[in-house]
Assembly symmetry: D2
Homo-oligomer: 337 residues x 4
Amino acid sequence: MRFLSDNTASACPEILAAIAAANRGRVPAYGEDPWTLRLDRCLSDFFGTDVRAFAVTTGTAANALSLATVSPPYGAIFAHEAAHIATDECGAPGFFCGGAQLVLLPGEHGRLAPERFRAALAAHPTHLHSVQAAVLSVTQATELGTAYRRRELTQLTEAAHERGLRVHMDGARFANALAFLDCHPGDISWRAGIDVLSFGATKNGALAAEAVVFFERSLVQDFELHRKRAGHLLSKSRYTAVQLLTYIEGGLWKKNAVRTNTLAQRIGRAAGEALLHPVEANEVFLRLGAERRQRLREDGFEFYDWGAESCGEARLVVSWDQPEEDVQALCAALVRP
Amino acid sequence: MRFLSDNTASACPEILAAIAAANRGRVPAYGEDPWTLRLDRCLSDFFGTDVRAFAVTTGTAANALSLATVSPPYGAIFAHEAAHIATDECGAPGFFCGGAQLVLLPGEHGRLAPERFRAALAAHPTHLHSVQAAVLSVTQATELGTAYRRRELTQLTEAAHERGLRVHMDGARFANALAFLDCHPGDISWRAGIDVLSFGATKNGALAAEAVVFFERSLVQDFELHRKRAGHLLSKSRYTAVQLLTYIEGGLWKKNAVRTNTLAQRIGRAAGEALLHPVEANEVFLRLGAERRQRLREDGFEFYDWGAESCGEARLVVSWDQPEEDVQALCAALVRP
Amino acid sequence: MRFLSDNTASACPEILAAIAAANRGRVPAYGEDPWTLRLDRCLSDFFGTDVRAFAVTTGTAANALSLATVSPPYGAIFAHEAAHIATDECGAPGFFCGGAQLVLLPGEHGRLAPERFRAALAAHPTHLHSVQAAVLSVTQATELGTAYRRRELTQLTEAAHERGLRVHMDGARFANALAFLDCHPGDISWRAGIDVLSFGATKNGALAAEAVVFFERSLVQDFELHRKRAGHLLSKSRYTAVQLLTYIEGGLWKKNAVRTNTLAQRIGRAAGEALLHPVEANEVFLRLGAERRQRLREDGFEFYDWGAESCGEARLVVSWDQPEEDVQALCAALVRP
Amino acid sequence: MRFLSDNTASACPEILAAIAAANRGRVPAYGEDPWTLRLDRCLSDFFGTDVRAFAVTTGTAANALSLATVSPPYGAIFAHEAAHIATDECGAPGFFCGGAQLVLLPGEHGRLAPERFRAALAAHPTHLHSVQAAVLSVTQATELGTAYRRRELTQLTEAAHERGLRVHMDGARFANALAFLDCHPGDISWRAGIDVLSFGATKNGALAAEAVVFFERSLVQDFELHRKRAGHLLSKSRYTAVQLLTYIEGGLWKKNAVRTNTLAQRIGRAAGEALLHPVEANEVFLRLGAERRQRLREDGFEFYDWGAESCGEARLVVSWDQPEEDVQALCAALVRP
């Protein structure tokens, strides 16, 4: 029973069906096909404001290309120390931005506290010997399975904008945060001050599709050239675009996120005191100790250890296609004395 | 009737069927799935030697990542002046290699002449004020729809290897060259001295899949890290890998290439004296003049002008899913006085 | 008798004296010293317009940093195929610009012909698959010892500006061109449409000092940060600044350039039909053949072969501290049958 | 009375005299002059082992070029959070290394504790989603004016080498550490496991000269090309080389370092309980509070505030040419109630 990552999941049948439906005839390449041309409209409707949206195939590409449009090569990018861009993208931000430097901050439950960020920003030098404060990158839902509230986001982005920074949101699990908060997509994006969003679909049911959504449209100018020279402009663009259209218009984002959130919360409740962070998305972090982790594995549960070995922590992720029986079995195992 | 590019094509039904068949259950991500794990074996069998093979989603990624593994940031990359890496990848080689410089050479029918390359290499400085000769990149089939013979390739790669350069082949249309030459895949790759090959499938029937094939396996060490930090390691890797497996094992590469080559040659014959280059792949280059181009367009044929406006040249590309009637109509239009 | 390069020269006594005079007491570092603060005024007076000027220690730094302020990472930089940035800076433009690509053009006597550049620019694609035309870089005096006339420069820069390009001038030997043309410095720089100039002093008598001069002041914003992160902001800036002040205010630029130009012209006249390019600076290019080159070397003359071995060409450069007897001896040797 | 930085200092008369003495006649450029050719020997004698040594003009260049030879673009560079490469070089390591990422660690008195580094290294992932542990960079003397003992260095470098990392030392104030520890230069460099050293001279009396010293000679291969393409190979190399020769062979390094260390220690003693870190070089860090800082400034002392405003900390640096009276006056002011 696999709780390793939502990346192990398959793609939704609806997504595959949509790809098959788009596989008719020859259409202009490189984004001039009818599906790609519809992306702006689709995402604008979803977010309730005029946006420019682009499809790429990986979250790392979505994040790094977004950052490259908002950070100069001598920029400083502020982020939580657990951010995916800091720990799991093999230096992509530095590569795409031509050398930009990450400034990593701690924060409880994977969230940056607005006052802490404000203090870090105030302490960051403005003279030319230092990298220049350029971007704040926040993750929603966070790497520890929690979700920022709109108010927190607003406080963070206000602090950033006051000093002229742009704000990027890594929304690899944006749908899970949205489902948890049960609010309008605009409330935790542009209305909360986000300038550019990596809006993931792959983890939540697509085959390979992430949208880069620009709320601050002037930023688009560089993006397309950065994407092309990074090899992330697909020739047969229709197949990526149609995944996003289906994901959003077909309501898959919600259906899948609600399901995985619910199952994850069930696991969180079963875990009781072992639970490390509130379950506000599809990830559950537990302090189990070496022995209990061992026992769970013997019972057939697959998951990753988390953090330093000595902490005995574990991460369990629920996929959109996770059999409910897996979760039932896991809960049963967790409540067992 | 669209002869703009083989990029406008759809994906083969066999490819879509294989993707659907792979869409079962949860499997390890990031290349640890059964399909990706089978790539090395599949490509080794195809080329008749032990290779390491990796899947990416675009030709630009395949080329630029290949070059990044064989060129230092202060490297010189020799290529034909019409090479895709020089004209159509928005500076990707310079980006991925950290600043490497292209050295572009002319050559009849899109081919580099071995003696010309040898002379250019001899003239290239070795002192540290110059970028250092590092890579030869050849395109097979070329950008002008011709194919290098094995002997030419061998002469080119020998000149390169004598001076310590690595040789990359941009094989976005490798299948077409192979079908035209009707030889073993190894004959125009590793047996001819190629170190790393971008082996395209997208243009010839895949959805989005290109293989990077390392014949010189020591080169692999950097590749995987370069790929990850460029955002080109897909989480749900199975869907890209399975396209390549189907393309090769199912013989799609050949079926489609033979068909498009044959149709292109038919057009070439119909064009008579207007033909600019021998038709050895699925592309036809014609000198038509402004008026004749205009007339063809009025008759419903879509294609790109080529080169300087004053030359009156046109490029027509046959796609794997091109209706035969398109070609018949085009031939009829071309022979018309 | 050394005619290898003006880089082999010593520094003028006036320059050393000025350094010694500035070596008094402790002053603010990193450009806040009185000498550096006077650079803008000094260069503004020299050029007859308000400029921003910065000191660096090498011509490669001056050129590459200038280019980094005017080219995006996906930019195309147009230059003569003999340009120093193309042949002698080990890929610095690609490095500093984050991957920008050089587009090299031929041109008689080291000069780009305006109509040729205009044609190349017209042919350069504007779609996003190509690097984007961003910069024209011209060299004054050229690498072949000739000087652009103001009219030529104006034609080139007009063609560039019409399409939105910025124009950089590599003026490693700007003083020699200025002395030859005997015009106002503004006439072949800002009045001729130059946006940013690398104004060399090292070859012509300084120890290690080049000015980067911005006529288009909005460009300055990025320059200082690029310079710092490239390690080209000197802590004890006074010693570089004072070299430039002395070079310009003391009239060294003219005294030395007139002398070396005159001596070079004398050599050119002695060379007769062997002369390859008009002598308009301090460099002489001769077609001598292998035997005659050999004989000159046996007579004690040191110089570089130029171009392909088979051409039998030679480059001879006169330094500011070249003994007149060297030149007399060389002329005598050249007229000898 | 200026205690802002040792960068505000002038150059030693001995250095200027040596430059003047080298200013005779024309010599080969780009490092082929007799002074530069003597650098390897000079530094080898100094360190008691065969080294390769190169001169550059800034500490940022020395550090960033060193790092570029030992870190791949996907490398992780471990350093103290106060390291100059992290705070004062405007992202140079990321730029020169093509995107490498800094991993910053805290540590008392500016020093990395071996056990802490070992733990951080153990926790750093080895999978390809993360930047790869590549370099440890230590600063000697540290940014907080302390010096690593040989034993500490050995423990750090052993931990690094065990995992295949290279070790770089930022020795902008190496002479001060050496004078304080009163040991052989080899003891705190190659004998302690350092692979490459930025050995500063500028702060301690040179005009603009830093040596990059390779104890691990195989690393040299890339360095020279990186230096050239970064614009850090000076044409008239003799003037930089002769500064280093004079600094080392003339014993300036010691004379100046002993003097500034002694004066700094005197200040440290006068400061009493306000002293924040042991004075083991030429820098003194004091906790003075806002009022006392204000009073010192009114008394004519110039210095930088340090850290967050609320801490009331100050940094005072003694220059080689600091008048002794400045120090006497400062000590008197500090002991005043």
